[in-house]
Each structure stands twice: as C-alpha cells, then as structure tokens.
C-alpha cells in the first residue's frame, strides 16, 4: 500500500508518497534528497540523537552531545540509556568522541560544545 509521509530533510516538508510494492518508488518530492529520505524512512528509519551528559570540573554541569550520524530509530531508547550513564571530565572540545560506534551502529557519540575547566 502506498504510504504518505512528510519529508523532513529540509523545512519545505514535501508530502511524499512511497510505494513499498513498487521498489519503494517515491513521488511528490521536490529534490533528490526526498527520494532517499522516503525510501529510508520506510525501509529503515533513522534519526540523529542529541542529548546532554554530565560534566565535572567545569562551570557548566551539562555538556551537549550527538550521534555524528543518524542511527536506527529502534535503537533510540538503548542509546539514550548509554548517554545517561556517561560522565565527562572538563576540558572537552567539540567533536571529541565519547563512545565509538555506539550500540553497534556506524555512529560515534561526540561532544557538541567546547567546555573549559574551572
């Protein structure tokens, strides 16, 4: 059955139609990125996860982090639990890797803000 989804690659929000029975054919897209999004969203939906972790030795108490690429939606909970178990020690730099290949994905958990020690 053809499924209707809203493309979230950019703010334009194209209303895509994806047909799983016809090799996941995508229509309604305004740019090529919509095709890959539409296919992936039905075959294997992924998201970048952003959150914060505890940090010690700094004026700030939280450090923003993200997965440096999108991870399967089904792994979100598992990854959040891992993120919540981390405590960093200042200083940290944007891009520092905290956990490599988090939850057996291709993504690393990385620091998103330079935080100096106090």
């Amino acid at each position: 059955m053809v499924q209707e989804i809203i493309c979230i690659v950019c703010p334009r929000g194209c209303h895509l139609k994806v047909d799983p029975e016809n090799d996941y054919e995508v229509t309604g897209n305004a740019c090529p990125r919509g095709i890959s999004y539409g296919k992936a969203e039905l075959k294997n939906p992924t998201r970048v996860i952003t959150s914060t972790v505890k940090i010690k030795g700094a004026e700030l108490t939280r450090c923003p982090v993200k997965t440096d690429q999108a991870v399967p939606k089904t792994k979100m909970r598992e990854i959040m639990q891992l993120i919540n178990s981390v405590t960093l020690e200042a200083p940290v730099k944007t891009g520092d890797i905290i956990i490599e290949r988090i939850s057996d994905t291709e993504a690393n958990l990385v620091v998103c803000r330079d935080i100096t020690n106090c």
Partner: protein, 428 residues
C-alpha cells in the same frame, strides 16, 4: 554624563544575530566594535538548543545549536572585536552624532559607553501564561517551553514526569521530544489554531516519532492542583476560538509547557525612540536593516521572530555591513532617495523590510514575510503599486504561517512603479 568608553559600533546581544553582525562589521572595515552580552557565554539561545538542524541553508550541513554558534565564535576570536560578557544593557539614548548605551556588570559597575552606530540584536522572549490568560490555580509545574529547555539542557534538571504541551511552536515540539527521551511521558500537544505553529519536520520528528497526539483547534481551559499541577482540562474551540461545551478532556499531569509565541525584546529600542511596527513588535527597518532612528540597526529575533537561524545570520550580516558603511561615511544612502513603503493585504502578516530606499538597492532587495493562513494549492505572491498595476509576482506551490517566506525584488522593477507604495498580496 561621564562617557567611559567610545566605539565605532556597539552590538547589543551576543546570540546568533549579534555574532554574525559583529563579524560582518569587522570584515567590512570597522576596527572598534563591542558586543554587550548579559549571559556569561556568547551564543544566546543556541546554547540551549542542543538539537540538530541548524545551518542547512548557510553551511549546507546540519549542526546543533552550540556547534552553529561555535563557528562564529571561533571566527570572532580571530578579529579584535571586544566582548563584554555578564553585562546588562540598561538604557539606550540616541542623538545626532552619538548613540549612548548605559551598561552594568558586577566587575566594572555602571558605565556609559557611546558609539557611532548601534546594532540591536537582543532577540526575543516567550509569551507567558499571563499573556494568554489561562484560567485555573497557580500551582507549580507551569513552565514556558524555552525556560524548561534551559533547566533540562543547560542545568540538568528534569521539570516534570507527566507533561502536556500547550501551543505547537517549535520550542514546544522540540521539548516534547526532549522530555520523552529523558523519560517523561508527554500526553498531548494542544494547539488553539487549526494549523500547527511549528515546522513540519518538528511535527514528524518530535510528535509522530513518539506517538504524541496533536490536537488542533483545542486549548487548555482549566488547571487544577494545590501545590503542583494535578489536572488540566482541554476543550475544542470553535472558529472564533471559543471553547465548545461538552468537548472536555481531562489529563492528570504534573507539568504544563507553554509554547505560545515569542515577543521581540524591544524595551531598549523603545527608550531610544526607535519606531516599532505593531505587526512584528520589532523596529521598522529600511532595506539595509537601519531603523528609522539614525545610526541604529536591528537584526535577528528582535526585528521579527524567525524560524531558521540561517536567515538570522544573513540578516545580521546585512545589518553589520550597513552599520560599517554608516560609521565610515555617515551612511551609504543618498538622502534624497525615493522611499517605497511596503503594505500587506489580509493574507500577509507583515514584511521586513517595511521601507525600501531605491538608491540603496544594488541589484535586488530581499523581502521576508509570513502568510496568515495555510495555502495548500499553488498561489502567487503579487506586488502591486498604487495604480494596482502588477509589478512582480512569484509562484509558490504552498505556504504555511509557520514558515517564513522571502522573495527577491529586482531594483529595475522598483524604479518603474507609480507612487510610493507597494502592496504585497497572495492570489490563489
């Protein structure tokens, strides 16, 4: 009045607008620039916007808020722009030659600074429960969404366990996801308008991903709870926004997050006598972001509320360039330039700029605006002069109030209009 220090340009606010404005002014030849920031860090609201999606237009990649501001902070550290952190701007005064800024900080005390030009980049603040008059008790547990975002993302406090969100603005949607990921239960998002206030991508990624229902044309009509919020009543509203009897739904929640709009923060502008536009709640500006008060420029959310930081950056760069030009040559605009006022029909909420000095337009002027209702079918954005002649028209496949639109008006077209007014309208 004892003037403690003098600058070419003072920028009030060190968020995305202030940062880009400072860089642009420095790149355009100013050497004596100060940013005044009331927080301990540069970056403004981006520091608490830890989600990604920033920079798609400007950097062609998706960044988190702190990563986006870092790009500008790093570039700024290579210039000699001076930054006064933890410093509150108290009062702005305008005169022919100088702009006077009164500032206060715990380490330098009360100071009066003056500069040739000022860029307003103070951003905006959230509308509160008091602004929208929700009935009910004054229990704890009612937060503005952005305030909750600060507690959760910067200070590491959870603000509740069972949450309802009023308003579908982007901050509210982002917080629905954030609270869910951190273990809270978000029972619903309730929007009084018949369409969502936030961007599509946020509806999908923040609500649909977590099966959080979005109730359009609904609002909160009662809040119960003695110390902490215990229950809220949600009702459907009719076309006039009046609650419909018999549609009550009850939610037992301990927390309400409000995402009910943003107000540009223009107290300083008002004191300085900068004329404001009631439609944007920001200053009226010309094509180069100069306000009607000489030497004072504005950009970012203090000028009008944006949904994408990328556009804030672009706007700020233009303001920075114009301010540099003003300082170096007393303004790049000929005094006798023809001025065109932009008017709107009922389908359009506002435009920025509101006035265009033709002589200052190099090739084209970019006009930003918001539509006031959803246009699902292809429609045309039409500019007409005072004789109702069509000057320019632009096609759009669809338009949403949540998404700011913009068009480029070529100078050539502006030169040929009759009268001094252009009306922008949507024709289906």
């Amino acid at each position: 009045m004892q003037i403690i220090k003098e600058y070419q340009l003072i920028i009030i606010g060190g968020g995305p607008a202030g940062l880009a404005a400072a860089l642009s002014a420095a790149q355009n030849g100013l050497s004596d620039i100060l940013i005044v920031e009331r927080d301990k860090y540069l970056g403004g609201i981006l520091n608490q916007c830890i989600h990604n999606g920033f920079g798609l237009h400007y950097f062609k990649e998706e960044l988190t808020g702190p990563e986006y501001s870092k790009r500008f902070i790093d570039l700024l550290s290579e210039t000699n722009v001076e930054v006064a952190l933890d410093t509150m701007a108290l009062n702005l005064e305008n005169s022919e030659e100088w702009r006077y800024l009164h500032v206060m900080s715990s380490f330098e005390g009360y100071r009066i600074l003056r500069s040739k030009a000022v860029i307003l980049a103070m951003g905006c603040r959230e509308r509160t429960r008091m602004n929208i008059q929700i009935p009910g008790t004054r229990a704890a547990g009612i937060f503005n969404a952005g305030q909750a975002q600060l507690y959760v993302n910067l200070e590491g406090y959870m603000v509740g366990k069972k949450v309802i969100i009023l308003g579908s603005g982007d901050v509210g949607l982002i917080m629905a996801r954030r609270m869910t990921l951190e273990g809270a239960e978000v029972v619903a998002c309730v929007e009084v308008m018949p369409y969502p206030g936030g961007l599509n991508r946020n509806i999908v990624q923040c609500l649909q991903d977590f099966n959080i229902p979005l109730y359009l044309s609904h609002t909160i009509t009662d809040i119960k709870g003695r110390n902490r919020v215990e229950q809220v009543t949600v009702q459907e509203v009719d076309q006039n926004g009046k609650p419909i009897a018999g549609t009550e739904k009850y939610y037992n929640v301990d927390t309400i997050l409000l995402s009910v709009g943003l107000i540009p923060e223009n107290e300083l502008s008002r004191e300085a006598g900068v004329p404001l536009d009631p439609r944007t709640s920001g200053p009226i500006v010309y094509e180069n972001k100069e306000t009607l008060a000489q030497g004072i420029f504005a950009c970012g959310n203090v000028l009008h509320v944006h949904d994408l930081v990328d556009f804030v950056t672009e706007e700020a760069e233009s303001a920075g360039q114009a301010a540099a030009c003003f300082v170096q040559s007393g303004g790049c605009v000929k005094q006798d330039s023809k001025i065109i006022s932009l008017k709107t029909d009922s389908n359009i909420g506002y435009t920025v700029p509101q006035q265009i000095r033709i002589d200052d337009v190099e090739k084209a002027v970019r006009v930003f605006f918001r539509v006031r209702k959803i246009f699902r079918e292809p429609s045309r954005i039409v500019f007409r002069d005072q004789l109702k002649s069509e000057i320019a028209s632009f096609k759009r496949p669809f338009m949403f109030p949540a998404e700011m639109e913009n068009v480029n008006l070529p100078r050539q077209l502006l030169e040929n209009i009759s009268g001094t007014e252009l009306t922008i309208s949507v024709e289906e």
